[in-house]
């Protein structure tokens, strides 16, 4: 049996989602090792107890061997950070002997067998799922889903799978290096976190497989082409084939509007949504302060504006001048920027 290691990457605010991913993954693949790459630190009085969690192991950002970690973390907002570690985590798992590494976003729920991934990785180095695999016809869907893919990346990096082969390791190292330097939400400059980089993967790496099965990575952006049905035999189908995993992007919240828009009134979608919300509620992290992210505030507790992070990552002088950007007080970067904002 293949030595499959699956991981997700999240802050503690997404712990409920991680748990749902874990419990659904374990239902189909109890033999896979499931890791959480934690881009956060626990607040006082809160601790992860692995024996009660559906993930087997936790790797913290500190364990990924990233240079000048504090400065590096500061450059990223929470989404950027959680995606920026993915390449390093793939390398980490491959280096520790995983024969196959599968990444799944925390807001994914596994609803079918993923054995095909193992099989495909015995021949292919890298598996990617495109956002869309069928041309849209409706102008608004073209705008949302096709042009959206051009802006955000052809492939959805809620899923990527890598074999521990020469080609797989080569991809992992390249992706890690790029993400350590350039994993930002900066569409005008051609970047969208980890995702746009993988547009290059099929060109740079010869043994990439584009997984076109519509049962994988069903989400609001492809729902218009992949109607969901729940059959009398208990199967859940997407575009007529077994649903493997559903990507509940921004659920609960604005993602529900997008699912509604592209559901075509299909009740099965809302059944999935109701189930997912119930599972999130069941798996809520009790004792975690609302909106918690350890790297979201300066040392004095004030929220770090995105503009401060952008400034810091773009300017080597700032990074050199303030090696501890999270600090607060008279000599801190926070103070200097605040003074500027007040005076201007």
């Amino acid at each position: 049996m293949a030595n499959v290691h699956c991981f997700t990457s999240a802050s503690l605010a997404y712990l409920d989602r991680v748990r749902v991913l874990g419990e659904t993954l374990k239902r189909y693949h109890p033999d896979w090792t499931f890791w959480l790459c934690l881009c956060d630190r626990e607040p006082a009085g809160f601790s992860l107890r692995l024996e009660r969690e559906p993930f087997d192991l936790v790797v913290r950002t500190e364990e990924l061997g990233i240079d000048a970690l504090g400065s590096w973390i500061f450059e990223h907002d929470v989404v950027e950070l959680c995606t920026a570690v993915k390449g390093a985590m793939v390398c980490h798992l491959l280096e520790h002997g995983a024969s196959r590494v599968v990444y799944l976003d925390p807001d994914i729920a596994v609803l079918g067998d993923l054995g095909e991934i193992e099989t495909l990785l015995s021949e292919k180095d890298i598996l990617l799922t495109p956002h869309v695999i069928q041309a849209e016809e409706d102008p608004s869907a073209i705008l949302d889903n096709e042009i959206g893919s051009l802006k955000h990346g052809v492939y959805n990096l809620g899923f990527v799978a890598v074999a521990n082969t020469v080609g797989g390791r080569s991809f992992a190292r390249w992706w890690r290096d790029r993400l350590l330097e350039f994993c930002f939400d900066d569409i005008p400059n051609g970047l969208f976190t980890d995702q746009r980089w993988c547009d290059l993967a099929p060109a740079l790496f010869p043994n990439v497989h584009i997984l076109r099965d519509p049962g994988y990575n069903v989400a609001s952006w492809n729902l218009s082409q992949r109607p969901i049905s729940i059959e009398p035999d208990g199967a859940i189908l997407a575009a007529g084939v077994p649903l493997r995993f559903f990507h509940f992007t921004k659920v609960p919240g604005v993602g529900e509007h997008m699912l509604e828009r592209y559901s075509g009134g299909n009740l099965a979608v809302f059944e999935l949504l109701a189930w997912y919300r119930a599972r999130l509620s069941e798996n809520a992290a009790s004792g975690l302060p609302g909106g918690w992210w350890a790297f979201g505030q300066y040392a004095d507790g004030s929220e770090i504006p995105r503009e401060h992070r952008v400034a810091y990552r773009r300017c080597s002088k700032l990074r050199k001048g303030f090696p501890d950007p999270f600090a607060s007080g008279r000599e801190s970067m926070a103070k200097a920027i605040s003074d500027y904002c007040r005076d201007s």
Binding site: K250, V254, R261
Partner: protein, 512 residues
Amino acid sequence: MSTASLIQVFRETNEMAGSDPDRGATAARNFDQQGPNESQRWRWEKTQVCRTRHSDALRRQLDALVPLRQRALAWGQAASSSATISRTTIEHRLCRGASSRLIIAISHDDYVLNYGGVQTLIGDEQAACNRAGWNYLHVSPAKPLPFLADPTAAQAFHVGLRLDGKSIGVANFAELVAAVAACRHKGLTAQFICHHLMGHAPELVLDLIRASGTHRITCWIHDFFTLCPSYGLMRNDVAFCGAPDPSSPACTVCCYGEERVRHVRRMETFFEITDPNLLIPSEPARDFWLRKSTLCHADAAVVSHARLVMASSSVGAGTNSEPRALRVAHLGVGATLKGWHIFRDLALECDGDDRYAFLNLGSWVPSDLPSCIRHVPVRVTPANRYAMVEAVAEARVDVAVIWSLCFETFCYCVHEALAGGAFVITRVGAGNTWPAIERNAPRQGCALTDEEELFQLFKNRDLERIVDASNRRRGALIPSSGAANWLLNGSTTAVAAADSNEPTRAPADADG
């Protein structure tokens, strides 16, 4: 770093930053604030049609879903708080009975205090057993639950007891078992009928069966609780599921799925030990149950909840002799499960069409009753069990729409509508609804595939033509003796014609 240089860096970098990566959020905000743009409109309008037909009510139902264990807390508030009676009291009451023969029957609630098809049948069964010289002990959980009671100690589980229809109190299960065992040692002969296990712990019920000395129990399949805690097999209370394998993805996303795994395991044990004779109220229900169940059983007989005898002559020309709107009715509870939302949408779509008048016949007024539907209060009680039949006739209902979303194992409504002289429109795949029409009055109803067909039928002139040509008759509903005939006489024609003195309305009167 100087403040001046920092300011410059900050200005430059801020000018370079800024994009809205969240296309979803932006688009959704725009959509919500401004409505659909032209390019979005066709899709939006398409989805609106679907919603009005089906999704709105079902989505409300989904939004209101409460986890099963939380529901149990609400149900538990109806628990009886009566003081418990002792083994000796139970023993005394059982042994003091007129007969040394005792039927022990269990079901999910007190059949005297609650009213419905199953409760009526149990009442009839009790009466038939009493007439045949058997006492009838009914056992129901003191604390109602929407699933099997968790395995528990007999001393901690309380049940309500009725002997021959009269309450004898609340007892803990250990006392009940001991009392039955003691009576048996004094020569009592017992038979055991399981109507429903909801709210019971099957492991304790097995103790009671053993104490009763019953060789083979009789088990009713009134609904599909033996297959799933969702007794109507309604996945998430919105869609008939067909009872797939409990490990299926469909059960994974169903609010009953987690409970079902334990439920099925306990049912398997119960049926394996009891190997019961099954009574099922219709052939479609029996066929479905046999196809979907792997539970052990010795036999599976069809025993109808009631028998419908149709009059030989038609309702007559009176109904439509003078031009008037066709009276179209929904019968019973205004519940989504019973297709109320479809009926409501149909009435709204036909609002202003003078060919139709819509009625709702039931005991309570649905909260979402639109002005285009007239509510006709009908309260069916044990004392007036044919109130619905009479109301259909008195309101001169031409068409009853019985649009159950679930699989009806018998469906009183269809029988009541036919007995009241209405033409019945039902849904293909709603269990016994269409087979009941086909068997009793094949020209007095039709089955449609889906809502689109239903709405189309009302839109064009087909309905008036079909109803005019339907040769509608009235009928009489004759109650069943439940398991009594089957159990005591070995007859599967367990209707009460032979042993009931109260046929409701003779077929000859039906035209009245």
